[in-house]
Structures are given as structure tokens and as C-alpha cells.
Symmetry: C2
Subunit: 259 residues, 2 copies
């Protein structure tokens, strides 16, 4: 979708209108789907972010989830104890929710948001083992790797991508971890407060073998649905003799770096 | 190149003939370039592998390196203390050499070769900080990550790729680590001992920003050269506010897995 900056009610309504056409077990919305992206100050962000227990958006999504039996994942600016996170909430039909706070902030997000305080967790529900990451998290291979090693079979990835690399890189993320991924990326542009962002759309659902199962428009708002057989993520073998989790040579890896 | 199985002298001569057309600081040959790939038994491999201090191939490459002032990296089957490794030797013009033994064996290599015994190291020479990995190592993001965090600015990657994923994935490996890469992949096919391998060629030199700087044929033998400014790998920033090494949130990563 293409959120309009600052118009939370409009954006929520638009999302619900799109969602009403869906019949699915799992639905992913973009990052910051109800506020837009191009904040120009911490104050402006603070006025739009909400504690999730008092958020109209969260309460409407919970209602949708309960009524349609859909797991909903949505990127929303979250206020908590004086901090503001770029978060993704996962809402289960049974009322349970899980919050992931973006670990790797992109560009000016660093000026306005607080960094996520983890951990990276897997949410289990009816055979789905959902790992959540947000937008720029993709460029750090450790993010998807950690989720996959914790058992995720599907990585849900609300995004506001402005660079053009990620949609292709997600093929590699799926291959190297033998997981499904859903990157839901917004479209449109925002030009305000001296910043100009062109969001690249081109949402993608990708299989553990790297096949692209569904692809969204680069410019248009739309809803896409695809059937997935999650069993595809259980077998980590890429040949009869290569299980890519078993084959890892952990003692030779050093991802801590020099510091 | 397209090695002929078992014909070490022929393959070496062919490689030297191609190399004679080069004027370069760094030259990469494919994996197992002088033996071919489709071994059908440990014994057959043992008859072709050599200790590097008694190898005619290594001694010819050393001569080439010294005379042309070229760093040469070549994949060769290595015999050492009763073990046989799928190795890549790095030969410096000053006579120094470094051996990397493939950590992640692919498919039937597991039946014939011993697993590499590390470590992943960086070889420094005249501004080059060379990391070496071999073929299937690519699918484990920790391999290139470890090399890059140890300071590699260029990852050299002799290959005998049969799957088609790697050449695209190397774009991601370069982007996520802001390094150059040279994947030198053989062409042709080998059909022997009940195994049939079609090697995918399509060698690639890729820049830290993901740009493909040179591309080899999918079927033909050829030599490709490209000028690289290694400074491109020193700056790990992808935006003015994002240094992708500094931005890593190490304490939230768990790459050890459940075991």
C-alpha cells in the first residue's frame, strides 16, 4: 500500500479495505503502514507513535484477526516507556500478540527512533513458525539466520525499502536458510522536511528453493495471495548429502569481528 | 576453463596458455582446475591429488607468479598426511603461499575428500587483503562474513558450480559485506562413474555496491580482466548514517543454532 504521511485513520481504513478482500491464514502489511515514513523530527514521530495497548490501529487489527482467523503482521511506530520503536506487531486470532522492534535502523530513522532491544524470536501458531524482521534488517545475514536457526519456517518482512537490492537478496536469504519469506514493501513516495523517499514496492513471496511465488507491483497498491506448503521449509537438504544446517562449520566462523 | 578429467598436464598447459594473455595483479583459476571434478572413488582421487611441495602444477604456477608478478589463486586437490583436501592455493610473487581447504564439501565430494580444517584467513599483499572460499562455501553466509570481518577487501572464489544460484547470490555477499568478489567458475560437463555434472560457468567479478564488473561465458573458455579500485571496499557505509559493520547488533545474533 501507499500510506499518506500522518493520516493514521485514513491509512488504517485503506488497509482494512484491502484486507477485506483477503481470505488467508497469514497477512503481512508494510513497515509503518499507518503513519508513513518521512518524519522530520522526534517530536513529530512522538505525536504519531502509540503505546500498543492504547492504539486504535492495534485494536482494529485485533478485531480483524479474531473475526477472520488471520495472523496479522503490521509495521507500526510504538511508544513504550519514553522510547519510540520502529516495530512490527504480530497478532494471532486467539488474541495473543508479539512485538518485534527493528534492530537495525536505516538512515534518518536513527535520528528519531530508538534502536530495537530484541530478542529475535519465533512465533508459533498452527504449524507456522513465524520470524519477523523489518526492512533494512535484511542486509545483515545474521538476522534471518538467527530466526531460521531458532526454527522459523517463514520470515515476515514488513518494509519501506528505498534501495533496490533487497528484493533480489531475499532469494539468497531463503536459499541459505531454506525458509519462506514474505517481504511486504510499500509503494509511492514521500517528499517532506527536506527528505525525498521513493519506495520501491515489488513485494515478494519467496520459497526455500529461491522460487518467487508472488510478486507485487512497483507502483500500485494491491493485495496478493499465494498458497504455501510449509513442509518445504522443514527439509534443509539442498542435495541428498547436504543438509545446509548440519553442514555448518561453526567453529571456523567468527561473526563478532575485531571489536 | 574446461578441465579434462584426470589430464593434469593438459589442463595445466591450457591454463598457462590462457594465463599468458593476462597482465594482472591477481588471477583466479577454477576449483580443481588441473584434475577435473567427477571422481568416482577415493582411490581415483588419491592417484591425482598431490602434496603441494611436490606438485608440478604448484611449481609451474609459482614460476608464473614470480615471473609476471601476479598473485595466483587456483583450486587443486591436495594430499597431506594421509588426508585429501579440496584446496585453493594462493601463490604470491615473493614465493609465499597460503592454502585454504574447503570447509563445506558439496555432495559426493563428501565421499572422497576430507573436510577442510580451517581457519578462514586473510592474505595481505600490496593493498590486497584476499579472502579465499571455494564453490559451495558461498551458501553459508558465515564464510564470506568471517573473511570480511577479518579484513578481506576481495573474496576470491574458485568454483565448479553445478547449481545456478550462486552467481546471483554473490551480489548479496558483496553488498552485505561491502567487498569485491571474483567467482571463477569452470564450464563444460563431466559424465563418468554414474555421475553427470553440468558446470554453469558465468564467472563474475562483483563490486561492494553489487555492480557486476565482469562476466564470463556460460559455456566457453575465456580470460576476463577488470580494473578494480580496492578503496571501494574500505568504506562500509551504505548511507551517510549506516556503516553496515558498525550497525551490527551482535548480542542479538545467535548463529550457533540449537545444538
Amino acid at each position: 500500500m501507499k500510506p499518506e504521511f500522518g493520516k493514521k485513520e485514513t491509512n488504517l481504513k485503506k488497509a482494512l479495505r484491502l484486507m477485506d478482500k483477503a481470505t488467508s491464514d497469514l497477512l503481512v502489511l508494510p513497515e509503518l503502514f499507518d503513519t508513513g515514513y518521512a518524519f522530520s523530527s522526534r517530536e513529530e514521530l512522538a505525536a504519531l507513535a502509540e503505546p500498543f495497548d492504547k492504539s486504535e490501529t492495534v485494536s482494529e487489527l485485533k478485531k480483524y484477526s479474531r473475526e477472520t482467523k488471520t495472523v496479522v503482521i503490521a509495521g507500526i511506530a510504538e511508544k513504550d516507556k519514553g522510547k519510540i520503536y520502529n516495530s512490527a506487531i504480530t497478532i494471532l486470532p486467539n488474541g495473543r500478540k508479539h512485538v518485534y522492534r527493528k534492530l537495525h535502523l536505516f538512515y534518518k530513522e536513527k535520528l528519531y527512533f530508538n534502536r530495537g532491544n530484541g530478542p529475535l524470536e519465533v512465533i508459533s501458531y498452527k504449524g507456522m513458525r513465524i520470524g519477523v524482521m523489518i526492512c533494512f534488517d535484511w542486509i545483515f545475514p545474521e538476522t534471518a539466520r538467527t530466526l531460521a536457526l531458532k526454527g522459523a519456517n517463514i520470515i515476515c518482512h514488513p518494509s519501506n525499502l528505498v534501495l533496490s537490492y533487497c528484493q533480489n537478496a531475499m532469494v539468497t536469504r531463503c536459499l541459505e536458510n531454506r525458509v519462506f519469506s514474505i517481504t511486504c514493501n510499500r509503494v509511492g513516495n514521500e517528499d517532506r522536511g527536506g527528505n525525498s523517499y521513493n519506495f520501491t514496492g515489488f513485494s515478494r513471496v519467496i520459497a526455500p528453493n529461491g522460487n518467487v511465488l508472488a510478486e507485487g507491483s512497483k507502483v500500485k497498491e494491491e493485495l496478493k495471495a499465494v498458497d504455501i506448503n510449509l513442509k518445504g521449509a522443514e527439509d534443509k537438504r539442498i542435495t541428498s548429502l547436504n543438509d545446509i544446517f548440519e553442514d555448518r562449520r561453526i567453529k571456523f566462523y567468527n561473526i563478532k569481528g575485531k571489536k
